[in-house]
Each structure stands twice: as C-alpha cells, then as structure tokens.
C-alpha cells in the first residue's frame, strides 16, 4: 500500500520566534502532523510513504528531514515557473506530480500552511484527482487496502467515517516539534536520492500556463499588530507591583508617575 504525504517547506521564523533550529526552512507544522500520522501507520501496516513537495531551490533540507523521519521516497517539484503559485497553481502542479508517481492508496495533507493559511489545497487537489476528500480528520483508526476508517471532529460533533480508497484525508491539527531523528537516520537520509521534477518532466497540458496562472494577487500588506511606544515601569519589585495593581484597579495616575 502506498501513502503520499504533501509537505510544504515554510520559513522557520514563521514557526519558531526564537531561532531554535539551524535551518532556514522547516516542515509546515500542519504537514508535520500529517506526516507523523502516516509514519505511525507504517509502524503497524506494510506500506510505503512518499513525500511530495513543491518549492524553490533552497528547501532540500526539508525533504531530507522527511526521509529521516521515516518517509521512503521524496519528490521535489521544483521550477522557477512555479514561483508565486496560489492554490489553483499548487493543486495543479501537485496533481501532475502525484499522477506521475503513479498508483497510490491514500493521500494525506495538512489543514493549511503557516505562510499561506488558505486551507484549500487538500480539497482542491482531491477535486483535480477526482477522489473523495475528508477534512477535519483527527485520527486514522483503521487502514486496509480497501478502505480507511477515520475520526473527524467538527465544532459541535464527531463522526467516524469509512472511506473507500483511493482517497485524500486532511488532518485538522498541527505539531510544532517533530519526533527526534537519530543522527544515523539523518546521515542515511542525506545520501538518499531525492527525485526532482521540473515542469518539463510533468505532463502539463499545452496551455498549462493559462490554466495554472495564479488567480489571486496580493496588492497590499499591512501589519496586523499595532506596535506601541510602551511605558517602562521602573523601580524595585515592590514599586513595580504597586503600579501594576493600580493599573488593574484603574487607579493609576499616569500624569504623576515617574
């Protein structure tokens, strides 16, 4: 049985505000959870896991990480033409990559990415591949060659669903820290081949440029959070605590402070 996991590399500062890792890119936390779930299946069922990722030249380390974590193969869809891809382009390119990989039983995606945050790729991809798609998946309960059983969670209810394969499932949650990878696994992964496909390798329709043109364009970006000129409360701990208590009780006299 074959599982394909879609993984996006995202800039590490979007995940960790204090640089805790050496790398520029890390696995998108939502995809990390999806991948880790796939690897858990592999622990009990005989199956192979392929990771597929569309991304620029600098994301190789992320694919190596996928291999080190336990994925069997890694496919890298890499072409300058993919830059600026929105959901429509991403699902188009991924669907072509997946078709080239060939047969599969299950595709697993994360709910969204921390940079794009659109949460549409999984559903759109299933639509292009014409396979059923289940979102909000919390847990894979059973996995056979004919079907899977999953638990899905909505705001107010939970369902257990049985889905015929092939199918695509979208995990709901995310995970910040991956399971630890032994140095041995990492070394092995670094020596493994990563299959790299450009647009020439994927069987795009002739007019794919027209088909797979980005349909959205960002025209303006403004910071969401307001940076303030805050007031520093100084003095010893007792003094600071007094000011805090006055602020909380609405008794702080800003004009006569300091």
């Amino acid at each position: 049985m074959k599982i394909i996991v879609c993984v996006k590399a995202v800039r590490q500062e979007l995940v960790f505000i204090n640089k805790v890792q050496q790398s520029t890119y890390v696995i998108n936390p939502y995809d990390l959870l999806a991948l880790q779930n796939a690897i858990n299946i592999k622990n009990t069922e005989a199956c192979t896991i392929d990771c597929i990722s569309m991304g620029p030249d600098s994301i190789r380390e992320v694919l190596v990480k996928c291999l080190a974590l336990g994925s069997d193969n890694a496919y890298w869809l890499n072409d300058k033409a993919f830059a600026g891809a929105d959901t429509i382009v991403t699902t188009y390119v991924l669907s072509k990559g997946i078709s080239k990989i060939g047969e599969y039983d299950l595709i697993i995606c994360g709910e969204q990415t921390v940079d794009g945050e659109t949460g549409q790729v999984g559903i759109g991809l299933a639509e292009r591949l014409n396979i059923p798609c289940i979102t909000n998946v919390e847990e894979i309960i059973d996995f056979t060659d004919k079907y899977i059983i999953v638990c899905v969670k909505y705001e107010d209810h939970e369902e257990v669903l049985k889905i015929q394969l092939p199918a695509l499932v979208v995990f709901k949650n995310f995970k910040l820290i991956s399971n630890t990878v032994s140095l041995l696994h990492l070394k092995k992964a670094q020596r493994k081949e990563i299959v790299r496909w450009s647009s020439n390798d994927l069987c795009f329709e002739k007019n794919w440029c027209g088909l797979a043109q980005a349909k959205t364009r960002v025209v303006n970006v403004t910071p969401e959070l307001i940076v303030k000129e805050g007031r520093l409360i100084s003095g010893n701990a007792k003094k600071k605590a007094v000011v805090i208590s006055q602020l909380i009780q609405g008794r702080f006299d800003a004009d006569n402070y300091g």
């Binding site: 959901t87 559903i123 059923p132 939970e158 889905i163 969401e224 605590a241």
Partner: protein, 325 residues
C-alpha cells in the same frame, strides 16, 4: 461616493439553516456591495427561512431541493447552478462545509479564491479587494482576483454585522432543477459509522467576556506559580488564559488558549505573564484596551505591543502583587 457593483453577488447559505446568523452577516455585507444579491439555498424546503433572507438584502433566492446533507452532492448542484448563471462574485461561509464548497468550486472553475476574509471592498478600478490575515496572522493582506471570471471568497464569522432592512424586498424564489444524472454521488464511497454530538456549551464561555485577563506563558514554568496567579486573579476579578506553549506544558487547559489556533478575546486589561509575544498569540488580544507585559527578557517581542512594560522576574513580582490585593 460609494461604488456599487452591478454584477450579481451570490451568497451560499448554510445548507442546514439558510437563515443562520453567519449567512445573514454575508447577505448584509453583500447588499452593501451590489444591487443584485442572490442567496443560494441547497437543502430541504424551508420557505420561512428563505423568505427571511429578503429582509436582509437578498433580491433573489435560488433554491434547489436536496434531501440529504451530503456535501459532495451539494457541491455538484452548486457547480450546475454556477454554469447556468455565471455570477460575478460568490461569498461562502468559512465553516467546514463552506470551505469545502469554495475549494471545489474554485478548482473546478479555475477561479481566484480568498479564504477567511475579514473585509471586502471595491476599489477605484471597480474591482473587489478582499482582506485577510496572512503570514501567521502577523499581517493583513489585501488580495485581488486576476485571470478569473468569477471571484470567490470565504468569509469569517462575526466580522460583519446583521442589518435588518426597513423595507422588505420583494420575495423572488426560483427553484433550480438540476440534472440528476450528472451528480457524482460519491456517497457510497463514504459511510458514516458513528455519530457523536457533544454539547459545546458544557464549557462555560462566560470567561471570554472578562474585563481583566491574566495570560499564562511558558515563563510561568510551574504549577505553584500558576496557583499564585490564580489566587491573585480571584482577588481582583480576573480570568486566566494562556499561550499555546502553556497548554503544551500543561499549565492551563486547551480551551483557555488565546490566539490564532485558540480563541480571540477583547478585554479591557490584558496582563502577559512570562509570555514572549508571538504574533500567533498576540492576534488573539489585539483589540485589548491595555496590555501590561511582565517578562524577564527586555528584548521579548511582547514589549513592542505593550502599553506598560515590566522587565523583571515573574515570581518576584507575583509575590509582591499577592500582598497588594
């Protein structure tokens, strides 16, 4: 002068409750953007709910009967409707069902889709501009559609208000007959084995309206500090919330997590205790009237957003604070 579009806006109503608050919020907003608002109702017949939509700005209801609530069947019907009528812009709810319908339609029609909009406007070029949070909620991006005939968006709940019109518009409900043969009913491939409803109100949500909140961050580091914070909070009528890191460290319950993947609150006073100030957390309290931050690291990002900054060891400050209430 406000620009109003003359092309048709569609609002895809909640298939289980056409006149849900969320649906009405979208209809109200749509009515500010265009003169032609079609509310799409796919599901069971409910004339009362459909007629209600006209009091909020709908100028037409396009209804299609669909006995089951299979979202895949609804998506097929919707596709046929879009092919027949070719609307200019489509607004979906940002619920699980709305997201599903939006993704399927946008892929099928190769149309631009902006997810989780918090605002929609029309610019001087007479084009729709969709606003949404991006880059881990640290920025608001304004997005336009291009290379696509239909513009699509999903809209977050509670970002627009509901306005009841003074004058009800003429009721105009059209029944849409879809080609049953072309419905790719994928029902048989998905089987419901078990269904469990849980009462989402078992957790009392009153705390979300608290005027004062104390936010527990990883810097609180242990249960005895948490207890101390709880004691102080009790004395001054504050509620306890926290960061995701605090949840992962088991310092607080997940239901009290504030931020992008938790809840948003709007207290008068927010006190950050050992909170670093990651954007994913701060967006959840960005409308707080006053932010007080206590952190031992003077370079902690939270100080950029704080009105009052206390650079000190938390335990020391808490001990002092406890004696003052």
């Amino acid at each position: 002068m406000r620009i109003i579009m003359d092309n048709d806006i569609w609002v895809i109503c909640d298939n289980l409750k056409y006149d849900s608050d969320h649906s009405l919020q979208l209809i109200t907003k749509a009515a500010q953007l265009s003169l032609k608002i079609t509310a799409i109702c796919i599901g069971k017949l409910n004339s009362e709910a459909m007629e209600r939509l006209f009091s909020y700005g709908a100028t037409k209801v396009l209804y299609s009967e669909c006995e089951n609530d299979n979202i895949r069947v609804i998506a097929s019907i919707l596709k046929q409707m879009i092919i027949s009528y070719n609307p200019g812009m489509i607004m979906f709810l940002s619920s699980s069902a709305g997201k599903y319908l939006a993704s399927v339609s946008s892929t099928y029609f190769e149309s631009g889709l902006t997810a989780d909009c918090i605002d929609i406007a029309i610019d001087i070029d007479n084009e729709y501009v969709f606003s949404r949070a991006a880059l881990n909620s640290s920025v608001i991006a304004k997005i336009k559609c291009q290379n696509s005939h239909i513009r699509m968006c999903t809209v977050k709940r509670n970002v627009f208000s509901i306005i009841l019109l003074n004058m009800q518009r003429k009721v105009d409900i059209e029944r849409f007959e879809y080609a049953k043969s072309s419905i790719s009913d994928k029902k048989q491939v998905i089987e419901k084995l078990n269904f469990l409803t849980y009462n989402k109100y078992v957790n009392n949500d009153n705390w979300m309206a608290a005027k004062i909140v104390f936010a527990i961050g990883r810097g609180v580091s242990n249960k005895s500090n948490v207890d101390l914070i709880k004691r102080i909070a009790l004395k001054c009528g504050a509620e306890i919330v926290g960061t995701r890191a605090a949840v992962e460290e088991n310092l607080i319950k997940k239901s009290r997590q504030v931020g992008q993947s938790g809840v948003n609150i709007c207290p008068n006073i927010y006190v950050g205790l050992g909170v670093s100030g990651a954007s994913q957390h701060m967006v959840g309290i960005k409308n707080a009237k006053m932010i007080i931050a206590i952190n031992s690291d003077e370079n902690a990002p939270i100080f950029q957003y704080a009105d009052y900054m206390v650079v000190d060891d938390l335990k020391t400050i808490l001990t002092e604070l406890n004696t003052l209430f």
